[in-house]
Point group: D2
Chain length 271, copies 4
């Protein structure tokens, strides 16, 4: 094997994932003097800097911790600030796949909230892609911006306080539109305008009533086909040898995913 | 809006998605002389070439069809040849998210089968990434190669007939390892060797017994933490106004997703 | 063991359950001259009469069949005529438990349809109980009557063509009320009148919109508390040794169960 | 309406269900001097005795409580003592339906635990039926007995400390056998002996491994057909008008239900 197999080292400024056990896991900035306090012991980042990722480090107090490079879900679930209901990995994964987002994609998101989806999109579109993100609440935009900055992806997003019921202030059509709004039916004409033909609009909503109204508005507009609604459920298993079973508790509901594709309306676009 | 909002036109050689209704949907190559025969009418690609994507085209027989640019799931579900059980979008989405794959990622897949996951990975790693794909069966590698070629992503993959129980013939460590094999427990040491520390191994398997054996082997090896098993269920809804309800039928099971992260073993790597 | 362990014998007039394999199962009347024709062979009831229940009998054609005494679900799923959507065992079981029905209970059902729930109720209330069953369609009442007669429980039911939106023609209050109607919200006042205080009304409905309207009407009336809506899902497993897994297909939806308990309205009953 | 519609009155010695709100619900014995203390106020049974069931009663502290006659699930979930994992209504309902239990049935249960299933069976078999219940732990038998006594159904059950791996000490064959044991595969021959031909054995178990072993043992014995395993999931909905949605949390797993029917083994019974 070549030199690229040299282990990666924790560098100053890295965000590292610290795992003590199933429940105790933290995102910490690796800087001199930073200390992680837990009920199982204390970990100084001085003891972590310069160690290879994947290392097991002894905390003051005797317990061991694993130091890992965080994956996207770790950043979101452990590192991000939250000011709103968030979209969870099970839903994010399906939304991403439906959308066809890829390196270089240009996409729009309205209702960025804490920026979980914004981050996932920015992560996947790469440096040649762009994510336009809007929210009517300034505190949400601030939270999302701070989360994206922490994740090092702020250069791929354009965030603005804006109500998309007044239109999408984007220079040209985009590959996909993502909405996490209470009333997406009030911006259907604008979705049509900003979305490339064949592209998908994907809406995430908690109640069945919203699903009904959103799907109805998309149907009535006429510029959308393949209108569908689904729900993703995740079941966790406990895998002890000889005692495999589903977890006793599960998340019963997060939200519904409604999606549709833009088709051209004959004789021009209608709003 | 600027000129980039000019509609995209169907060009010779494009694979187009033709939608007649919920069930009648096809991937067709847009070339002169190619004709799509359906029980609802006949569509000549001569009538499709040069039209903007998103257009509604009248078929011979009177019914209309929408002509769309396919999204990844369309290519897989409608365009790909299948020689094996495949991994469906609900599972692909979650697997992708777990893996942290992104533009430029280098990943390994064993048990490529018809290449559904291979394609999804190649789609997301971009031109700077690479997907190494192995299968013990030559017919699978051929099928996967033909599917990737059709999708135009063959340049991002290295496919080979190979049994990964003898190791992963890859030059340097990779960001993630994906397995769809009957017996991944027989290659755990090799997974450890090929995977970067902090990286995830993700296994897809149909039976609970395989989940148990895989998780046990990962635990026993010692070089993995955060070993988990989950299952993704997708529920479709029928959204007629005033009559919203879940579909009467659903897919009850595809497979389980087992995943773990590599940590470093003290005092060197064990196989 | 005493004489009651003598095996039970198939007697003329019995309805027997014939099991060839997972899919081939039949309810047949055990009478001289009756013959069961299947694609796997022919079984004459002459060869079955006088045999102990539980016997394995060779069919003409060589295949063996088991002769069993049917359980309630066999009668319903294999023996009953159907003229409507039916309520399945997974839902029947929960409905029964919620209702508190027991030997001697007096209950009312509206929307009897093919009589699956009617039969289950009659089965459990015993000879001292009674089930009042109503339906607006005469063909339904006929089908339900014929099914109850076949099951030998017609003496425990009173079936009538009647629209319960005009009230429940029952002499005194009942222990529980069961509804499988498109618009139960139009008979809420009558439900209140016919139901004993503390008793439960249980409604089975296919769409979320109906659930919403029913629950809202029960709330607005004021004479009900503990208003809830649930859904029961059944997952089947394939249990081959070493290859245990959920079934690939499952029933994704049958209906929702809404239930509530009657409380007294101060200052008299309101309709 | 006749006199049977006279409201039922709370009598001394009754167990009543007191409902304050969704979470605050209690089973209390209605006797002079008994007082229910809650964080929302105090309810004296002196104020409840003689009131009609269904009444709304003001507590000291100002909050109102509904006084209802308990249904079986209330007794179990609120009134019973628990010394073990219990079987929940969603599973009890389906188990009951599968078993064909009815007024007059004679059944056997092993692993009675806290007596939830024992009670449900006793409730449905009526005064002419009987439930034989066994457990290896004396504390369980005591708990179950106390719960059945509280429910007023002790006359229908015969409880004993006994290990059914040594056989079922029952005088004659029974209509159904229920098991909630860690290792039912060790008593398969005895199940065959005690169960009537055509009757069902129903096993409740938490892990997939137990399901596999139980089903395998039933297959190998040869005296059982129609061996199946299922799981029941219950999903609760929040039904606020205009905001209908599934609950955020749900019970992800209680147990699996394995069931089979006894058929006769040619040439006598084997153990």
């Amino acid at each position: 094997m070549d030199t690229s197999t040299e282990p990666e080292i924790v560098m100053p400024g890295d965000r590292v994932l610290v795992i003590l056990d199933k429940r105790r896991r933290y995102i910490v900035e690796a800087r001199r003097g930073v200390v992680l306090q837990t009920d199982r012991g204390v970990l100084s980042m001085d003891d972590v800097l310069g160690r290879p990722y994947g290392s097991r480090v002894e905390m003051r107090g005797g317990q061991y911790a694993y130091i890992l490079r965080p994956l996207p879900e770790d950043l979101m679930l452990l590192g991000f600030r939250r000011r709103s209901q968030v979209i969870y990995p099970k839903d994010l994964g399906y939304i991403i796949l439906l959308s066809g987002v890829k390196p270089g994609s240009r996409v729009v998101e309205a209702g960025v909230g804490s920026g979980f989806l914004t981050f996932t999109l920015a992560y996947l579109v790469g440096d040649n892609g762009i994510v336009y993100g809007f929210d009517v609440r300034e505190d949400m935009i601030k939270t999302a911006r701070s989360n994206l900055m922490m994740a090092g992806l702020l250069n791929r997003v354009r965030l603005a306080v804006h109500d998309v019921r007044r239109g999408f202030p984007v220079q040209s059509t985009v590959d996909a539109v993502f909405l996490d709004l209470p009333d997406p039916w009030n911006t259907v004409g604008h979705i049509y305008s900003v979305l490339k033909a064949s592209g998908r609009v994907i809406v995430f909503q908690p109640t069945v009533n919203q699903v009904e109204k959103t799907a109805s508005a998309l149907k009535k507009h006429g510029g959308f086909t393949d209108i569908r609604a689904v729900e993703i459920l995740l079941r966790e298993y406990i895998v002890e040898e000889g005692r495999v079973r589903p977890h006793t508790r599960m998340i019963g509901h997060t939200g519904f995913i409604i999606h549709a594709r833009k088709v051209l309306i004959e004789g021009g676009e209608k709003k």
